[in-house]
Every structure is written in structure tokens, then in C-alpha cells.
Symmetry: C2
Subunit: 596 residues, 2 copies
């Protein structure tokens, strides 16, 4: 089985040395988030995830969830429900929620680090509480007062969980196609009828109630995505006074058999005139949905990070233990029958790739988290807007890159195990199977790529990119003459110049041919991701140099930064060339000829 | 469930238009391999694999093999044994074997195409007969006369199967560590004692006997890999006169629970003084093993190809059927509720990547197959040596690239399905899980990379590379002024110049620091693979232009070549830069600091 210990040292390094999070906490009014409190929370999260959730990871994979067709009930794997009980008891569901709704009001950066640990310890389990956050956000921003009063406390405290019900069998990315109907009832509620699929945690045995946030169309809805409304549709009916009534007409029809995250219930949900309450404006569901989706996208990015971290820890351990062949430069451990495989350059190439992309992802994710905080709480409205633009730009990069790197990292970590990596008992193959969902749900990588080049770049004339590049240039200017960093600062600056040039080229080409946007999207996203990570690895080098942490830790940071610039950042060369390959190389082939 | 139809059109295109295989068959004395015969064999293989093996693919995944701890027996999934009966009845096991041993004497290129079909139809099933080929080769080249007489006919006819027993729990890549012992007995046989793991088809219910080719050490063996001998150790004892006796002291102790290829029995084999016969010279086992291994490596490369082809067919079908969103340039099918996703540039990027790497792999694999034929049957010894050097150089490229691309292709094909790709019923996730073994067994990708830069390049002063580059240059010179091809010919030539330069740089650097070989190995292998594929895609363009096949087929070939040069070949930029990153960026970090 794969092991897991929360990477507290690296989280602390990023919080304290890279991001100087305490200054932000103080500035944004988190009086309670003292270093001691933050540290105690992280320590306790490490204990809970390591000792309670991590051992259940293989159990969940082996047992899966079980659906009872007679009742529609879903039984979760052994130990999952009890672990959730401890989770609620520990106050974890409301860690970052507003105290007025029953939360503990800690900064988002702390909650994000706890999420990473949960994902690493047990991704499938983590999916049950995950979407409550989106539901809470949607209700806070779009719900009526009574809805907030009634739904928020149990969701925040974890007594109930939430879901996002978007997808239908014929309708995934293209929400305009959805068929679920909402008919107004006399009491101001709506009768929801339709079938939703791929509903994470749609049914389970953790809590007394489940609040489904369902996209549906009103009878007078305009066609397409503009005709969608959002409805809070609980498993047990909830009245305006908060009283919980009879079972609602919503039922889990079946659960999916999946490649991984087998302990997570992925449900077909049948709504058969279920009572739902309109959240937000009529036909305004898409806006409310985006509120949930942005939160969920950053959340899925953290899933990629969590799996990467667990993959890293196990690959490193195995590469130190497994004895096989001698170093090319002669025996390193002549007293042993062979050297540990960590002496071999190609094993190090894999390990350092995992380390660079994992710890880099952590900086990227935590930076996005700190921007969310600014966007929500900065006193200056201009600062809030700036942070919101920046985090909007970084969200598709964070989601897509962290999940694609999660797949690469679990691949490389498994590969370090050789044939043993393919065997279930080592647990590496579960990580690879679990990781495979993360580039699909909450918008595939292709959707993230279109979001970045379209809505977040073309639509806003590159506002997010400009803000980011200004930050990068400020950093580069400050370190351009630093003898240790100068070469990599120059390399990063050159990439930034090219990034701007590529952006201009794509936008110009797309004016004549809209397919140019789509043709460039994927490679533009990864070009962006590698440049952003280069920036963070330089910042990590600088932070490590100034840090009071042990020399071994600091050396590792600086050598990993060196590795990143020597062996990962050059991937931008291929992405830039592919972008310049243009749309013709994709679009000119007639669709009928593809298979001829 | 995923579907599969053998790609006869593309196989015929490569045989006839790209490789002009009929000329080779005639030249090398395959009088019977007329176009009609070859075509009939391929058609029948398509029928058998499509109608018998393909439908059992999901069955094998769901049921897996079952091991009986009381008897050591292994029961294969429902239908597997009956399918094997049909396979033997059809004469497929000995398709390319020498008629003197009971084979049909068809060219290797035909056998290779049949293997591709078997792998695509049902990889797990294909693993049962797979290793018989290596056993046959080892016995032909290294066995005594009586061993050939006794073992070859049943192996060639498929009445028995063969295995390769190399790996032990503590000993995978580093065979010098092995502990299995062989004690001489009075009758000239040896008593084999030890435990072997990861033995593909080590036990099953297909045949009456199984011949294990076991690596073990004689009592007077010198230490390390030079002290290994090879022994034919059948499940039921076989005497020199061919009579089959009692059960031998070899038994399957358990089978592994794996990520994929669940229908294939991966066995722990316990030898407890089992009677074995020395094959080849004492302490000469490694040489005999390499005979088996080269055949097995090209065979595993074909597994990557087969899975890629099946992934491709299903991704293409789904991308034409699935309606979601409108084309960026406006509705293409205004009468439908949305356009099929094949109109979206990013879906086309994924599809064309799969197509380019799959059909490119097929050319690479079939070229290697034609070289094997030359190496075995060319009348001129110099030609045989030339072919052997070239196929030796191409073997690690073929194995590693075709399997890594198999992983990429099954990834991209699954991704085209969105969330549905993650659900078992579509069958795409099985392909991804099955593909994951191929970069591990028969030498990981890292081992192939070291074989290429070490034994096949440094050790031979680049003999294989020089031969290949001469062929590529002959082609380029002939097409340098072709208006349609000139730009890509120039691009390919530039890569060849760089390839030579990189080779020189690596070998020079490694003279001072042997780690430079290992540090460059992976990126050098992929640099090589992408250049080789560029060569084949240009040859495909030329062949398509001259071909009498339908215009749609020819257009697709030429557009795919264009895509390859615009969007895949640029990956060499990143690999070249990574190679030039040098060993320091991998090796300077102290092993203890990795996890600090």
C-alpha cells in the first residue's frame, strides 16, 4: 500500500518564506490566524489525514460503493462514514467559512492546504465533502435570506452535504442542451423533473440530508445556456422555516463503474417532480453555476497536487530502498549487493520531474488561494478587482496543469517501481487510476484551455496576462544581476516576451479565423503553465536562500529549480512551435477522410 | 465496450505502397507468399481477431484469472480456452515458423501484422501464446538437436506454450542478482530450485504442457550476470525421447492483482528441484536470453501499437457521434441540436496525434520486421549484418516509443470521451490500464533508453545510427526539390544533423563522466523516435501520392504527415534542450536532500 505523510515542511516554507502569508492574514483582518494557530491546524490536519483517511484509501478502492436498486441507497466503503463523523466533529467542514454561518473563519490558504492533504490521503473520500463548498458559495452569493438561513448552517457544519447537478446523458460541456424541467408550484417552489448523471456524492450514508443544486429550465426559458436556472433540491424536503419534511422525489438510479476513485459515489440522479427552490434569478443559473465551478476547478487542481505528493513520497522511498545494478560511475554502496536505484540518472530524472512539478504546483495553487483571499477581503476595490482578474486567469492554468501534471507524476512515480508499480499491493496503480478523472471532470483540459485563451484572454484583451507579467518582471528586474539566478532570470524574461508575442499572434490570427483560438488553446495553456512555474521556482530559490530552514531542504529547492530550468522549461519550445503550426494543420482534413 | 476492426487498408498500404514487401518476399525466397495468399491470411486474421478475440476483451478484464491455492491451477476467463483452441486449429501459432518444425513459413511481416491484430483485439489473451515465440527462437539458436526435436513441434503448433522465467523478487533488471540454483543430476538434467515472479502465462488451462525457460545459476557459476545458465523446465517432465512423464516440481504459488491485463495470468512460479535441461552453454544463459528478449521487445512494441489502433478507432467513432457545442466558425450541422465534437480544433488535435503516432508506429514496427527478415534470410552476409545492426538500433526505439505512445494515445482517446471515458462500459479505460504495463515489462523505457545510447550507440561507435541516417539522406536527396515536400525534407535533414551532433556531444561528455550517458538516455531515445517517425511520415506522403488507393485515404495520409511536422516533430526541440541540460542538473543533488 502507498504511504502518506502530510508535507508540512514544504507547506510552511511556501506559507512563510515564499508567500509571506502572515502579512496577508494580518492585513486582511484574520486576527485569529496567528502562526501558532495556523501551525496547530496544519499539524492536526496532518494527523487526521495521515492516520484516519490515508489507511482507508485502499479499502475504498477495493470495496467501492454499493447501490441498492430497491431503495436507491448507496453504502460507502467500510470506515468512510465513521471518518466523516470525525471530520465533522473536528470542525473541518467549516474551516474557512464565515463564523456567521457556523464556520471557523480561517484564511483560505489554510483550508487549501488541508484540502491538499485530504486529496492525497484519500481522494475518493474527499469527494463527499468537496462540493459542499461550491453549494455554500452559490447560496451565499445568489440565495435568498431564508435559503441562507436554512441551508448554510448544516452545510457549513457538515451535517448535510451538497452536490452540483449539471450533466445529463446527452449534455456535458454544452449546458445549453439540457432537458431537465422546472415547473412552478403554488407554494413558490418548483417541481424538478429530469435525469442527471455523473453526480459526485449524489447519494451516500454520511449525512441525514443532501442538497442538490440542480440546473433546469423553466417553461418560458429562452433556448440555450441563457435559459438555465438553478434550484436547491434537497433529498428530504426543506420548508422556508427550516423544518425538514418528507423524502423528496429524487433518487439515485445507479452508480457508475469507474477506472478509479471507486470509493466515491458517482450517481445517476432521477428527479421526478422533486421540490426545488430557485436560487438566484430566473434564467440566471449559469452565473450561479460559475460561482460553484470556479471553486470546484481550483479544488480539482488540488486533487492533482495531492495525488502528485503521495506519488512523490512513495517513489522516493522505493528508489532509496530498491537495490538494482551499480551506478554508472562505479559502486556507491559496495557493501550491498547492488546500489539503490536513486543512483541512476534516469531514475533521478523521473524523481526530479515529480518533485519539480509537485512542489511547483503547490506554489501555483497557494498563490491562487492567496489571490482569492485578496479578491474577497482586500480593502481597496481596485486591489480586489486586480486579484479577481489575476485568479480568473490562473484558474484554468491551475486546474489543467496541476491535473495533467498529476497524471505525469503518478506515471513517473509508478515507473520508478518497475513491474512492481503495476501490482495493486504497492498502491501506485491506484494513484494513477484515481488521477485519470481529474483532467475530465469540472471541465476537461480542453475546456480549461478554451477558457484561458477565450474568456480569460481574448475577451479581456489579455488583462490577466498583463497583470501577471508585470509581477514577473518586477521580480526579474530585482534579480537580474544576481550571479546565481541571472541566467535563469534571463531565460524567464525571454519566455515572457515570447508569451506576449504568441498571445498577439493568436488573437490576430483568430480575428480572421476563429478556429485559430481553438487550435492554439492547448499548447498556449501549457506554454503559460511552464512559464508560471518557472517564475515560482525562481521565487522558491530566492526564498530558500533567505530561509532559516535546514541546508538540505534549501539545497534541494535550489537544485530542483536548476533541474526545472534545464529540463522542464524547454517544453515551451515544443508548445510555441505547435502554436505556430496554426489551425490549418488541424482543420484542413475533411472529417470524412479521417478514417479512410 | 470498445470496438475493433483490423485496419487492413493501412496494413496493405504499408506492405504494398510504403515497403514494397512483395519484392522482398520474392527476393528472400517466400515463393508461397503471393499477394493473394498474404491477403487471405490477413483477412482471416481480421475475422478471427475481430469476431473471436475482441468480444472476449472486456470479459477477461471483468473476470480475471483465478488461482487455486490447493492445486496451483489457474483458470482463465470464460471463452479464453475455447478461443485458443480455434487459434491452434487455424494454424496461427506457427504462422511464420519454419515448416521443418511444423510452421507455415510465411514472412515475418505477415506474422507481425497478425500480432498487432491480436494485441488490439485482446491484449491479455495474446499474452498466453506470445512468449512461445521467444522460447522457439532460443531453442532453435541454442538448443541441442534432441531439444529441438522434442520441444519445437508442440511449441510451434501451439499444443504447448512457453514462458521466460527471469525475474525474482529482489532481481528484475539486474539479472546478476538472481538466486535460483541448478544442481546437476545423474541423468544429465538439472534440479532447478528457486522462486520466479511476474511470469506471464506461467500457469493456465490452455494446453497440456508448458515449457519454462528458466535462468538459474550452476554451483560453480561465476558471480554476476556472467554466471547465468538457461534451462528448459517443463510443467510435465519431458525425456530425451520426447515422452512426457510425471508432473515436474514446478508450481504456481499465486497470481498478481494488477492494474490491467487482468485476463493474463502473471504468476509466481516456485521451482522445487524441478527437472530442467540446459539450453546452450553453461553460464551462457544471458546470450540465449537476449535472443528471447529481442523478439519479446519488438512483440511488446506491437502491443503498444495494437492498443493505439483500438483507441484510435473508438475515439474517432465517438468524436463523430457525440454532439456538443457549435464549431467556432458557426454551426456545421444546423439541423442537429449541436455539432459533432470532431469539428472542435482541440478534439482534432487529440485525434490527429493518435492517428499520427499510431500509423507512424505501424511503419516503424513493420520496417523493423522487414529488417529482421533481411537479417535472417538475405543471401549476402554483409546485407544480413547491415540489417541486424539496423534492427538492433531500432529495437529499443520501437519498443519504448510504441509503448509510450500507446499510453499517450490511449490517454488522448479516452480524453475525447470526456467523463464517459472514465466509465468502464465504454471500454476506453481498460485500454489505458492495459497499456500501462507495456512500458514496464521486457525492459522499462529507461532500460530501452540505456540500450540505445549504450550498447547500440556508444559501444558500436554509432554504427546503427550511421546506417539509418544514410537511408534517410538517400530519401531526402531524392525529394529535396519536391514542391510539396521540400519544407519538411529540409526540417528532417536539419534534425538529422542535430541528431548526429547530439550523439557526438553525449559520447564525448560521457568519456569524462559516465553519468552523462544515463542523463541523456531518455531524451535521446525520444529525439531519435520522433526523427525516425518524421522519416516514415514523409515516406508515407510520397507513397500515398503514387498509390492507387481512394483519394480520401491519400489525403488523410498527407494531411497527417503535415500535422506531424507542424505539431509533433517540434517535441525534438524540448528533448534536445533537455539533453544539453547535462548530467549535473540530475546528479548534483545529494540523495539525502531529495526528501528534505
Amino acid at each position: 500500500m502507498s504511504q502518506y505523510t502530510a508535507p508540512l515542511d514544504d507547506i510552511r516554507f511556501i506559507l512563510d518564506d515564499v508567500l509571506d502569508a502572515q502579512s496577508q492574514f494580518a492585513r486582511l483582518g484574520y486576527a485569529d490566524a496567528s502562526p501558532d494557530v495556523v501551525d496547530a491546524v496544519l499539524e492536526e490536519a496532518a494527523r487526521f489525514t495521515g492516520s484516519v483517511l490515508a489507511p482507508l484509501n485502499a479499502v475504498g478502492d477495493q470495496q467501492g460503493c454499493r447501490h441498492d436498486p430497491a431503495t436507491g441507497d448507496v453504502a460507502t466503503p467500510e470506515g468512510f462514514k465513521a471518518a466523516y463523523g470525525q471530520f465533522v466533529e473536528g470542525g473541518w467542514p467549516g474551516l474557512t467559512a464565515d463564523p456567521q454561518h457556523g464556520g471557523q473563519g480561517l484564511p483560505h490558504l489554510v483550508g487549501l492546504s488541508v484540502s491538499e492533504m485530504i486529496n492525497a490521503a484519500n481522494l475518493a473520500w474527499g469527494n463527499f465533502p468537496l462540493l459542499s463548498h461550491g453549494a455554500v458559495e452559490a447560496l451565499i452569493q445568489h440565495g435568498e435570506d431564508w435559503q441562507r438561513d436554512v441551508f448554510l448552517p448544516p452545510l457549513v457544519e457538515g451535517r448535510w452535504t451538497g452536490t452540483m447537478c449539471l450533466t445529463e446523458p446527452h449534455c456535458g460541456t454544452d449546458l445549453g442542451l439540457l432537458r431537465t424541467r422546472a415547473e412552478p408550484a403554488d407554494d413558490g417552489s418548483y417541481a424538478i423533473t429530469g435525469t442527471k448523471i455523473f453526480i459526485t456524492a449524489g447519494e451516500h450514508d454520511f449525512t441525514d440530508n443532501i442538497v442538490h443544486l440542480v440546473l433546469a429550465k423553466l417553461p418560458d426559458a429562452p433556448p440555450g445556456a441563457k435559459g438555465i436556472s438553478l434550484f436547491a433540491t434537497p433529498k428530504f424536503k426543506v420548508a422556508r422555516d427550516g423544518s425538514v419534511g418528507e423524502r423528496n422525489a429524487v433518487r439515485c438510479g445507479s452508480i457508475e463503474h469507474k477506472m478509479g476513485i471507486k470509493g466515491s459515489a458517482t450517481c445517476v440522479m432521477n428527479f421526478d417532480g422533486a421540490q426545488g427552490w430557485l436560487v438566484g434569478e430566473q434564467h440566471g443559473g449559469l452565473k450561479a453555476m460559475f460561482t460553484m465551478m470556479n471553486s470546484a476547478r481550483l479544488g480539482v487542481g488540488l486533487q492533482g497536487l495531492g495525488l502528485s505528493e503521495r506519488a512523490w513520497q512513495n517513489a522516493l522511498r522505493y528508489s532509496r530502498e530498491r537495490l538494482q545494478s551499480r551506478a554508472l560511475t562505479g559502486p556507491k554502496f559496495p557493501d550491498k549487493p547492488a546500489d539503490p536505484i536513486i543512483v541512476h540518472p534516469d531514475v533521478r530524472r523521473m524523481l526530479l520531474s515529480v518533485k519539480a512539478l509537485t512542489e511547483g504546483s503547490r506554489m501555483l495553487a497557494m498563490h491562487a488561494g492567496s489571490l482569492l483571499e485578496e479578491a474577497a477581503h482586500a480593502s481597496d476595490p481596485a486591489e480586489r478587482e486586480r486579484a479577481e482578474t489575476l485568479v480568473g486567469f490562473l484558474t484554468p492554468i491551475s486546474k489543467a496543469c496541476q491535473t495533467e501534471w498529476g497524471i505525469e507524476n503518478t506515471y513517473n512515480a509508478l515507473q520508478c517501481f518497475g513491474g512492481h508499480g503495476y501490482i495493486a499491493e504497492h498502491g501506485m496503480e491506484q494513484l494513477a487510476r484515481d488521477a485519470r478523472i481529474t483532467t475530465l471532470y469540472e471541465g476537461t483540459t480542453g475546456i480549461q484551455a478554451m477558457d484561458l485563451i477565450g474568456r480569460k484572454t481574448a475577451y479581456s484583451q489579455g488583462a490577466g496576462l498583463k497583470l501577471l507579467l508585470a509581477d514577473v518582471e518586477t521580480f526579474c528586474a530585482a534579480h537580474a544581476d544576481d550571479p546565481e539566478l541571472a541566467a535563469n532570470v534571463a531565460a524567464l524574461r525571454a519566455r515572457c516576451v515570447e508569451w506576449t508575442a504568441l498571445t498577439t499572434e493568436i488573437l490576430q490570427a483568430s480575428a480572421a479565423d476563429p478556429d485559430e483560438l481553438g487550435a492554439a488553446a492547448h499548447d498556449y495553456l501549457f506554454y503559460s503553465g511552464y512559464v508560471v512555474l518557472g517564475y515560482w521556482w525562481l521565487r522558491a530559490s530566492v526564498a530558500a536562500r533567505a530561509s532559516a530552514r535546514p541546508a538540505a531542504f534549501k539545497d534541494a529547492k535550489r537544485e530542483t529549480a536548476r533541474f526545472y530550468f534545464a529540463r522542464i522549461l524547454p517544453r515551451t519550445l515544443a508548445h510555441a512551435a505547435a502554436i505556430r503550426g496554426g489551425a490549418g494543420s488541424l482543420m484542413d482534413l475533411d472529417a470524412d477522410s479521417f478514417g479512410a
